[in-house]
Symmetry: C2
Subunit: 156 residues, 2 copies
């Protein structure tokens, strides 16, 4: 169990950013498959994937979007953030074992605590794999809270 | 292991739709947390959630987006689809144990096999929780392929 402290609307500045790095291993791809039911062989079957335009297995594109939501909810603005909308452009495939850096940057502060953030996911070669824009209602007050202790998962 | 057959570009018609229903239980919320690292207590801690505007625990909004991607990749257009972009508006919270119906509908066929689809997620009361638009490159050819046998997950 850890704790997180948010960055309320009044403390947000244009250009402020937060990021996380996450390696997308086979486990993440299997987890995303279990979560959504997306068992398409392009994500799981190397032989099948050889005959696709990608030539090798790729991760689900929306995995990047899921990581963006985590940075918004945990870091910037963090806890108390209300997610309004998100655009996502899937620019380049995420391959198994890519290390994805997710960065969100404050682009615009609007009225009623609304904030627009640029969201960029790059791979270990600096190539943009996913980019888009989020709009949120930033929290009005500073909050520190305990995070949940996530369990370990086992594949049976 | 099952098999899926896609709907190639030439067979797609405006208004054609596909859907799936998925109950978002505590397990899905924990899984999404494990996958993304989003351990915000609004998703996990009932006592904390009581004092938020939602009054009770809510699922991660991006979970709906993840289900949309599964319908596009598995059903319509299905295997061989290239995901180009997605917009998502988070209209209403998803609460634990909501049964979410995800429907994607062909809205426009463009040149170079590009297709625009409307994406709507509703809860068991018919309320729209998430809606948006996807653009994909639909597969040019009919493909039938074996889906991957996803493992059972255990929380340790």
């Amino acid at each position: 169990m850890g704790s997180i402290t948010n960055i309320p609307y009044d403390e947000l500045t244009i250009g402020q950013s937060a990021s996380m790095v996450k390696k997308i291993t086979n486990d993440e791809v299997v987890l995303f498959g279990c979560l959504t039911g997306d068992a398409n062989p392009v994500h799981f079957d190397s032989e099948y994937a050889k005959n696709t335009r990608f030539k090798t297995r790729i991760a689900h594109g929306m995995l990047s979007g899921s990581l963006i939501s985590a940075v918004l909810g945990m870091q910037l603005p963090g806890t108390g953030t209300i997610y309004l909308n998100q655009s996502l452009n899937f620019c380049y495939p995420v391959y198994i074992d890519d290390a994805i850096t997710v960065t969100v940057t404050v682009k615009e502060k609007k009225e009623k605590n609304r904030v627009v953030l640029e969201c960029v996911c790059t791979n270990q070669n600096g190539k943009i794999v996913t980019e888009g824009q989020a709009e949120v209602i930033a929290p009005a007050e500073k909050i520190t809270c305990q995070t949940f202790s996530l369990p370990k998962l086992k594949f049976a």
